[in-house]
């Protein structure tokens, strides 16, 4: 099969896949540490578990497909996928859910399509969406950030909950977990409360959720570093956030009681992580400069639409997958003109 899309040079500074993946991993470290600080040891346990599962499954699949194992394992792409998936999972997700998520991400979405570079969809988001639509109950068991938590879970306690699936002692899920800010808004709006009433809850901070927004800041910091190092293209995060601002501002101005402010939408849920780390996946994103604007803005707008009028509190994962599907077509219609060629329509 021949694709006529151009592939523009995506990275100018970095040398190979491994070094790109490693730099993205370094950029994720501050945000991940902040997540662990606010949401407890569970995040770290799930992160390590996901990476172990991902690397083992990747090795098994490479073996089955008769590919060399070492060069593909040491490019860290499986580690990055697992890391992003782990950040999307609730901090006390049971171990088998991590395994299923990683299985769908690595085996189904990545290796069955031909491995790194051939996957039309973002593997981490496939794993997340499969879990979200299959286990809606477990996927919403989010912990409150540390300043709101009545009980700080220790390392062994978290480990026990992840492996047994239920809280031990006199703890229950209801006592441990709390709605996420986006959940809270969705439920509150369905009860005919206004946004300003909902925001009275201690869950909310200046823009997004208390604690949550700080985690986002650290992730954004890593993202800026990636843009500075030219590992990711600035167009996708900028257009994604612009897309959210453009669509959410009119609704917020006309009816601030039922629609959250643009800042709230940017600082809650998956937008910051998604804009810098997920939507910029070099394989499944659009590759032309113009295409990246369309691709990013599309994700932003779809995320807002799913959040405001859809069935799920957050929609970034679905938006990324939908735009992944559209990426080849976007690339086709936004091919840059080769210098010296005549201007003509597509």
């Amino acid at each position: 099969m021949q694709f006529k899309t151009t592939s523009s040079p995506y990275i100018s500074s970095a040398g190979d896949v491994g070094s790109v993946m490693r730099q993205v991993l370094y950029a994720l470290v501050p945000g991940t540490l902040a997540t662990i600080w606010y949401f407890g040891w569970g995040v770290l346990i799930i992160l390590i578990m996901a990476i172990l599962f991902a690397v083992s499954l990747e090795a098994i699949m490479l073996k089955l497909r008769g590919r060399p194992i070492k060069p593909f394992i040491t490019d860290y792409s499986a580690v990055l996928t697992a890391w992003l998936l782990a950040l999307a999972l609730p901090p006390l997700a049971p171990w088998w859910m991590v395994l299923i998520g990683v299985f769908f991400a690595i085996v189904v979405a990545k290796q069955l399509y031909g491995g790194l570079g051939y996957n039309p969809f973002n593997p981490a988001m496939i794993g997340y969406v499969v879990l979200l639509i299959s286990f809606p109950l477990e996927m919403t068991n989010w912990l409150p950030p540390r300043m709101l938590a009545e009980h700080q879970l220790g390392f062994m306690e978290s480990l026990g909950i992840i492996f047994s699936g239920t809280p031990t002692g006199n703890l229950t899920w209801d006592a441990l977990t709390m709605a996420t800010p986006l959940d809270e808004v969705k439920t509150g709006l369905s009860l005919d409360r206004t946004i300003s009433e909902i925001r009275q809850s201690p869950l909310f901070g200046d823009f997004g959720g208390q604690g949550w927004e700080w985690v986002r800041n650290w992730f954004a910091l890593g993202g800026f570093w990636l843009i500075y190092k030219k590992v990711i293209d600035w167009r996708i995060p900028v257009s994604l956030i612009l897309g959210i601002v453009i669509i959410s501002t009119p609704f917020f101005i006309l009816n601030p009681d039922s629609y959250g402010s643009p800042a709230f939408h940017i600082f809650s849920g998956a937008v910051i992580v998604g804009a810098f780390y997920i939507a910029t996946d070099p394989v499944s994103a659009s590759t032309t400069p113009m295409g990246r604007w369309i691709y990013g803005a599309g994700i932003g707008i779809l995320t807002y639409i799913i959040r405001s009028w859809g069935g799920y509190p957050d929609g970034l994962a679905f938006a990324v997958l939908l735009m992944n599907m559209a990426a080849p077509m976007i690339d086709y219609y936004t091919k840059p003109r080769v210098f010296g060629q005549r201007r003509q329509g597509p």
Partner: protein, 231 residues
Amino acid sequence: MSEPSLRKITQDGLWTNNAGLVQLLGLCPLLAVTSSVINGLGLGIASTITVTTSNILVSLIRHYVRPEVRVPVFVLIIASIVTAIELSMHAWFHDLYLILGIFIPLIVTNCVILGRAEAFASKHDVGRAALDGLMIGFGFTLVLVVLGGMRELVGNGTLLSQAHLMFGDIAKDWTLTLIEDYRGFLVAILPPGAFIGLGLLIAIKNVIDKKLEQRQPQVIKIETPAVTDGA
């Protein structure tokens, strides 16, 4: 055109040219109703009866219908058969009819049936057409049942649930619960599970074919699929 042997018709319908796995025809009902073994079996049997009867009728009238009007005539025949089946299911298997719902009348548009009428029945004698219809239908049913079983097992941890809808009250306790206290894996029951499941079945078939080919390196046979998918 030389008449294909009965053995070849059987083999084509069940395996080499399987409607579900190779021709990829009738995907709409195939993907939509196979959330359990019984649903798959119900739709499979209905499709088998339709394709067999329509093949027989089309083969009987093949010398009297002008080529210009053949497709409307085939569609009329298929539509009347499907209507009869729909009414009978409504009468005798009402609960199953309610589950399969729109997909029973939609058998009319199932391209397997029109495809076989056009590509096979209108060119061959009644006996061969009937056998072809039966085997294609049987192959299709097999895929429906296997896919339904896969999805039911992964999604709910059971097999043959709701068998009483088809076999009456004696089948009430046929349900096999293979995994006790299974939490359910919803994605297998939802539409994506159908696509992933069918993809895996096709992959398994290709692997088996490859293995068989390696075992006996014979004369290379060139097989062309009978029809290309239209819907």
